[in-house]
């Protein structure tokens, strides 16, 4: 029998991932030993410190990436071929960690609920019972959300960087499981929150099953899980094409579910509405980024040689996603559902960039999608942060009619929200315009011009409902007993400031971030 050869793991290159997952484990331990009173404060500080440390480590890793011989990318394959630490991975890690820091700041907000967080005091207490009232009277709260969100972030870091399908599947589970839980922990309107968690969990389990079945078929085709080997198998045309096509289709179902593309989008409005608003913002920015990263990696690296087979499918999905997102959003009367459909529409615009599959000179499809994700994430977290602030006595005032005339009663908050709406609509001088421009021009260069024309049309439809909100806020009369705008603590206000500044800067001076995305180069096999 042969000797056991110990595996080599490049700990230095994986340090961001290790810091986040290690901090999650330490956070669980803190949860067990700290007294309840100081726990919230310590968990918040600890989580933020860990995320900042991981961000610094990402910068350090990014600075030290070597050129790969014979390829256009920089980076290396680490941990026995499980992880590709390359330019796109490091870019996504950096952006993900920045989004996570802002989201955790929203998680930590306690002032607007009157001294407690936005999460259920005691998730096990049935809604509307004495136990629940007791828990909220005593100010009991779940600080476990911080380790849980760190677990989710760890999975998101691993997901777009995984270099084989098995690691990718495990990363998908690591990022999903804590999210299912976090969705069900809203302090207000707990029944729809629990319904959202249930729905997300069941549908997510289905999509994971599709994903893993696709992996099995692709393994049957290529005889390997590694993306580079699958690429070689596709190029050499070994095996049965039926297996490849079916496998690609099933893997696409799993990934398109996570990016909430039609026709796998049905969970998005319900979950976005039911989940606690900080979690919704976190999901809309970070899950989308991680899932798009994984989608691009699988389809560009492993299935790049079969792109004439999958591009028609992505064209159809992209067109459908944009149309459903933009048109159905017109009929929504709840602000969180409207933002959910807007997020579906943006997934469609991102898929347009993906479908272009342009890899030549200038900005490639990959780089444009990365830039779009970075720009969109800031605005979407900001928009959900504003939703947190506008409140009725019973919680957030999410019905659109309640927002009428908000521009007259509290012009600052309404102005900030209107600014995010303009960014979503893609008005020049906001990040939405520059990001749409880069994605559409890359798609045009890739020959997807019919899709780009459709995307521009759908952007116009989407702009209609964004502008409708602005008109409602500034040109309607305020409702009697209208919602109040809470004054948030430093956490939410600084998160909002970061989101606004990023949206402005990426709109006026997109150069530096666009350069970063371009330096990210291409995926390494």
């Amino acid at each position: 029998m042969n000797e056991f050869i110990a595996p080599t793991v490049e700990y230095a290159e994986l340090s961001p991932l290790l810091i986040v997952l290690g901090a999650a484990v330490v956070g669980v331990t803190l949860e067990a030993f700290l007294p309840r009173r100081g726990r919230h404060r310590i968990q918040v500080v600890f989580t933020l410190v860990a995320l900042v440390a991981a961000l610094l480590a990402t910068g350090w890793v990014a600075a030290g990436l070597d050129e790969v011989e014979g390829a256009s990318g920089r980076g290396l394959i680490a941990a026995e071929g499980a992880i590709a630490v390359d330019g796109p991975s490091v870019f996504m890690w950096g952006v993900l960690l920045v989004f996570s820091i802002i989201s955790v700041m929203l998680f930590a907000e306690r002032r607007i609920e009157g001294g407690v967080s936005a999460f259920a005091g005691q998730a096990a207490a049935l809604p509307g019972t004495e136990a629940e009232r007791e828990a909220s009277r005593q100010g009991i709260e779940h600080t476990e959300v911080f380790p849980l969100v760190l677990f989710a972030i760890g999975g998101m870091l691993l997901f777009p960087a995984s270099n084989d399908l098995l690691t990718m599947f495990i990363a998908l589970e690591v990022l999903s499981l804590p999210l299912y839980l976090l969705c069900g922990l809203a302090r207000r309107r707990r029944l729809i929150s629990q319904e959202a968690a249930m729905k997300y969990f069941l549908l997510g389990a289905f999509s994971s099953a599709f994903f893993v079945y696709g992996i099995a078929l692709v393994y049957g085709y290529a005889g390997s899980f590694t993306l580079a080997d699958i690429h070689a198998a596709v190029d050499n045309n070994t095996g049965s094409t039926n297996l490849l096509l079916a496998g690609m289709g099933l893997i696409a179902v799993g990934l398109l579910f996570k990016v909430s593309a039609a026709p796998f989008h049905a969970w998005t409005p319900d979950v976005y509405q039911g989940a606690p608003t900080p979690v919704t913002g976190f999901m809309a920015a970070c899950t989308k980024l991680a899932a798009f990263g994984a989608l691009l990696r699988v389809f560009y690296v492993a299935f790049g040689g079969a792109q004439w087979d999958w591009r028609p499918m992505i064209w159809v999905v992209a067109a459908l996603t944009m149309a459903i997102g933009a048109v159905v959003a017109l009929t929504q009367s709840d602000i969180k559902r409207m933002l959910a459909y807007s997020s579906i529409a943006h997934a469609g615009f991102l898929l347009v960039g993906f479908a272009g599959a342009y890899g030549g000179d200038g900005i490639t499809s990959l780089q444009s999608v990365l830039f779009y994700l970075a720009a969109y994430g800031f605005s979407t977290i900001g928009a959900f942060a504003v939703v947190m602030l506008v409140r009725d006595p019973g919680g957030e005032a999410t019905h659109l009619s309640r927002w009428a005339g908000l521009g007259k009663t509290s012009p600052l908050v309404a102005g900030v929200f209107a600014f995010f709406m303009l960014a979503f609509a893609g008005i020049p001088l906001t990040s939405g315009f520059t990001s749409k421009w880069t994605v559409f021009s890359a798609a045009w260069a890739g020959g997807a011009w019919p899709l780009v024309l459709l995307a521009v049309g759908m952007s116009a439809v989407a702009a209609y409902f964004y502008v409708r909100v602005i008109v409602l806020m500034f040109f309607s009369d305020p409702v009697v007993d209208g919602p109040t705008v809470s004054v948030p603590s430093l956490f939410t206000s600084s998160a909002l400031v970061v989101a606004v500044v990023a949206t402005v800067v990426l709109g006026i001076l997109p150069g530096p971030v666009l350069d970063l995305a371009q330096q990210a180069g291409a995926f390494v096999r």
């Binding site: 005593q138 009991i140 690691t167």
Partner: protein, 189 residues
């Protein structure tokens, strides 16, 4: 027909027949017990296909843990033991979806894997490990693959389990009295 093939066919028929019983029996508990037969027969199929480790994992996890969990869930939720609550008007649609999925998968799998024979003598390196395993699918080769090539995946799996554990505690755990008093003493801040 080799003896292996005969055993495989018998186990396959048993799998399918008991799976039909799982979905057709009106008793939920009976369905769970038929599931034991299905999963056990699948474990037998794995064994014939030289995947001995997977076969025993199947017995331990699915027959041993999952079905027992299912029975406990039925017991604790006091679900009606003898009603046909699962039938609905969607049945024809569900049957159509099920059969068409079956058709597509059957076509794909047979066209993809028809005529592929596992050659036990030439020891192909299919697990991606550095050294070729002595035999495909035995515990030793699976173990070596897990702790060399798939070590990262293996470690991350433990993270999932920890997250699931914490999650289960969060959604089901009650706050202890001591914590209540502590929180009350803190004035709810």
């Amino acid at each position: 027909m080799t003896p292996e093939l005969v055993v495989f066919w018998l186990l396959s028929v048993l799998t399918v027949a008991s799976a039909v019983m799982v979905v057709s029996t009106p008793h939920v508990v009976h369905a769970a017990l038929w599931l034991v037969v299905t999963l056990g027969a699948v474990a037998g199929c794995f064994l014939v296909l030289t995947a001995e480790f997977v076969a025993w994992v199947q017995v331990l996890i699915y027959v041993g843990a999952v079905v027992v969990l299912l029975l406990f869930a039925l017991m604790l939720t006091r679900s009606p033991a003898s009603t046909t609550g699962a039938t609905s008007r969607n049945r024809p649609v569900a049957a159509f979806a099920g059969f068409s999925t079956f058709g597509v998968l059957a076509v794909v799998l047979t066209s993809g894997f028809r005529g592929i024979v596992l050659d036990l003598d030439s020891q192909p390196d299919q697990l991606g490990g550095a050294a070729p395993p002595e035999r495909i699918g035995d515990t030793r080769s699976v173990g070596e693959a897990i702790f060399t090539h798939w070590v990262l995946a293996f470690e991350v799996l433990s993270v999932i389990l920890l997250a699931a554990l914490i999650g289960a505690i969060v959604v089901s755990g009650r706050v202890r009295d001591r914590d209540r008093q502590e929180a009350a003493a803190g004035g709810g801040s």
